[in-house]
C-alpha cells in the first residue's frame, strides 16, 4: 500500500474523529456546568452524590468507561445501546469530559471575588442575571487556558474509540498497521493529531485574545 493511499484511507476516518470531538464538546461543555452547579449546591446530599460521581469518572480510565457504556448494557440487560457505535462513544466521552469541565468551572466560579456578587445584589441584579452577566463572563476568561488543555487532550483521546472498533481515523490506521505490518500508519496518525491540535491551539488562542480587552 502506497503512502498516499494510506493517508487517504485514514483520512476517511477523520470525519468520524471530528464527529466524536465536536459532539463531545457540544454535550460536555453545558453538562459540565450543570454538574458544577450540582457540585456547589447547598443541598449536601446533592453535592455529595455529585462529588462521588465526579470522583469515579476522573478516577477510572476513559477506556474502561467507554467499554462499560458500549458493552455494559448487553451483559446486564441483553441489549446494546445502539448499533451505531458513535452513540455510546459520545455518551461515554461527554460524561467523562463533563466531569473534568465541571471541576474547571467550579474552580473558576469560586475564584470570582465575593464583592462581585455583593455589588450586583445591591445594584438590583437578580441571581440569574448576576450569574449570566457578571459572573459567567469573568469565569470564561479565567478558565480558558484550562479548557484549552482539555480540548487538546480530547483530540488525542478520540483514538480511544478504537477499543470498541468505531471506524475513526486511528482505528483504521491500526488496522492498516496490522495488515501491512507497518509502523507508518501510526506516524500518519501522529501527524493528523498534531495538525488537528495546531488548529485547536490557533482557535483557542484567538478566543483568549478576544477576551483580553479587560483584566
Amino acid at each position: 500500500m502506497s503512502f498516499l493511499s494510506m493517508v487517504l484511507k485514514m483520512s476517511e476516518g477523520l470525519s468520524k474523529t471530528c464527529a466524536i470531538f465536536f459532539l463531545t464538546l457540544l454535550f460536555s461543555l453545558p453538562l459540565g456546568m450543570l454538574v458544577a452547579l450540582m457540585r456547589m449546591s447547598k443541598n449536601r446530599f446533592l453535592s455529595g452524590i455529585t462529588r462521588g460521581i465526579i470522583s469515579v469518572l476522573r478516577g477510572t480510565p476513559l477506556m474502561l468507561q467507554l467499554l462499560a457504556v458500549t458493552y455494559g448494557p448487553y451483559y446486564l440487560f441483553g441489549f446494546s445501546v445502539s448499533r451505531n457505535k458513535l452513540i455510546p462513544v459520545v455518551i461515554a466521552f461527554a460524561i467523562n469530559y463533563a466531569a473534568y469541565f465541571a471541576e474547571i468551572y467550579r474552580g473558576g466560579i469560586e475564584s470570582i471575588p465575593k464583592g462581585q456578587y455583593e455589588a450586583a445584589e445591591v445594584l438590583g441584579y437578580s441571581r440569574f442575571k448576576t450569574f449570566m452577566r457578571i459572573i459567567l463572563p469573568q469565569v470564561v476568561k479565567r478558565i480558558m487556558p484550562s479548557i484549552t488543555n482539555e480540548v487538546v487532550t480530547l483530540v488525542k483521546d478520540t483514538s480511544i474509540a478504537f477499543t470498541v472498533s468505531y471506524q475513526e481515523m486511528f482505528t483504521i490506521g491500526k488496522q492498516i498497521a496490522n495488515s501491512q505490518t507497518s509502523f507508518m500508519p501510526f506516524v500518519v496518525a501522529g501527524l493528523f493529531y498534531f495538525a488537528f491540535n495546531a488548529l485547536v491551539d490557533f482557535v483557542m488562542g484567538r478566543a483568549e485574545k478576544r477576551l483580553n480587552y479587560y483584566r
Binding site: G115, Q116, A120, E121, V122, L123, G124, Y125, P137, Y214
Partner: protein
C-alpha cells in the same frame, strides 16, 4: 430630587440591631437614625462592627434582631425581613460604595453605570445620558469607554460612586471608601463625597478619615466592641469626647 423640602424626616432608622457571627456578638442593641439631607459618620477601631452595621442596613448581612426602616417602611421588623420582592424594592432606595470598589471588570465604565438602571426599566439612552452626566460630575469626562483596570483606584472609586448615584438612591452608604486607596488618591474621592454633602445627599460613611468626618458630618457615631460608645455632633465627639474609650481611640489615631 427635592431633598431640602423635608429635611429632618428619617430616611433610615435602625432600631436595636443585633448581630452575631457563629456565637460571638458583633452588634449589640444598635440604634441609629439618619435624617434626610444629613451625613452620619461611623468611626471606630477595626472589628468594632461598623461595616457590619452598614452591611445589615443594605441586606448583605442578615441581622438577628431589631428593626430596619426606610422612610418609615419596615424592611425588617423584630428580626424578620420583608419578603423577597419587597426587599428588592427596598434595595432601590439605597446605594452602597464598597472599600474595594467592586466594579465589574468586563464592563466599560459607561456600562458599569448605565446597566443597573436599564435592568430596572430605564430606557438605555436615558440611562447612558445620565451616566455621562454623573461622570462629568465625578471629574471623569471622556473616560466612559475605559475599562476599570485602566483607571487609578481613585478614579475607580469615583466610577463606583457614579454607579450608585445612577439608581437615584435616597441614601448612600460608604464602607471605608478610601481605605484601599493610595494616600495621594484619597483626596479626589473625599472631594466628591464632600460635594455630595453640600448638595444635601443623605449619607452614612464608615471611615477612618477623622478630619473628613469632622468636615462633612452632622452626626458622628463612635463604635467599639459592637456597641455605640458615644455619638453626637462632630465637634463634640471628635474634639471633646465624654467617654474615655473615645478619647483613647482618637489619641491613638493621631499618633
Amino acid at each position: 430630587m427635592s431633598m431640602e423640602n423635608n429635611t429632618g424626616t428619617p430616611v433610615l432608622e435602625l432600631r436595636n440591631i443585633e448581630k452575631a457571627f457563629s456565637g460571638s456578638t458583633v452588634l449589640r442593641d444598635i440604634s441609629v437614625t439618619v435624617n434626610r439631607g444629613n451625613v452620619v459618620s461611623i468611626i471606630g477601631p477595626s472589628g468594632s462592627g461598623k461595616s457590619t452595621l452598614l452591611r445589615c442596613a443594605s441586606f448583605l448581612e442578615t441581622a438577628d434582631g431589631g428593626d430596619i426602616l426606610y422612610d418609615g417602611d419596615y424592611a425588617m421588623r423584630g428580626g424578620r425581613y420583608a419578603e423577597k420582592n419587597r426587599l428588592r424594592e427596598f434595595r432601590s432606595r439605597f446605594g452602597l460604595v464598597f472599600q474595594n470598589f467592586n466594579l465589574f471588570p468586563h464592563y466599560s465604565v459607561l456600562r458599569n453605570i448605565a446597566e443597573p438602571p436599564v435592568l430596572r426599566g430605564v430606557p438605555k439612552e436615558k440611562a447612558e445620558e445620565k451616566a455621562l452626566q454623573l461622570l462629568q460630575k465625578m471629574g471623569l469626562s471622556g473616560r466612559e469607554n475605559a475599562y476599570p483596570y485602566q483607571l487609578s483606584g481613585g478614579q475607580q472609586q469615583r466610577v463606583a460612586i457614579a454607579r450608585a448615584l445612577a439608581l437615584e438612591p435616597e441614601i448612600l452608604y460608604f464602607d471605608e471608601p478610601t481605605s484601599a486607596l493610595d494616600p495621594e488618591l484619597t483626596g479626589e474621592v473625599l472631594k466628591v463625597i464632600r460635594q455630595l454633602a453640600e448638595e444635601k445627599m443623605t449619607m452614612v460613611i464608615v471611615t477612618h478619615e477623622m478630619a473628613f468626618a469632622k468636615a462633612v458630618s452632622e452626626w458622628v457615631v463612635f463604635m467599639d466592641g459592637g456597641v455605640i460608645v458615644e455619638e453626637g455632633p462632630p465637634d463634640l465627639v471628635l474634639e471633646n469626647p465624654e467617654m474615655e474609650r473615645t478619647r483613647q481611640f482618637l489619641t491613638n489615631y493621631q499618633k
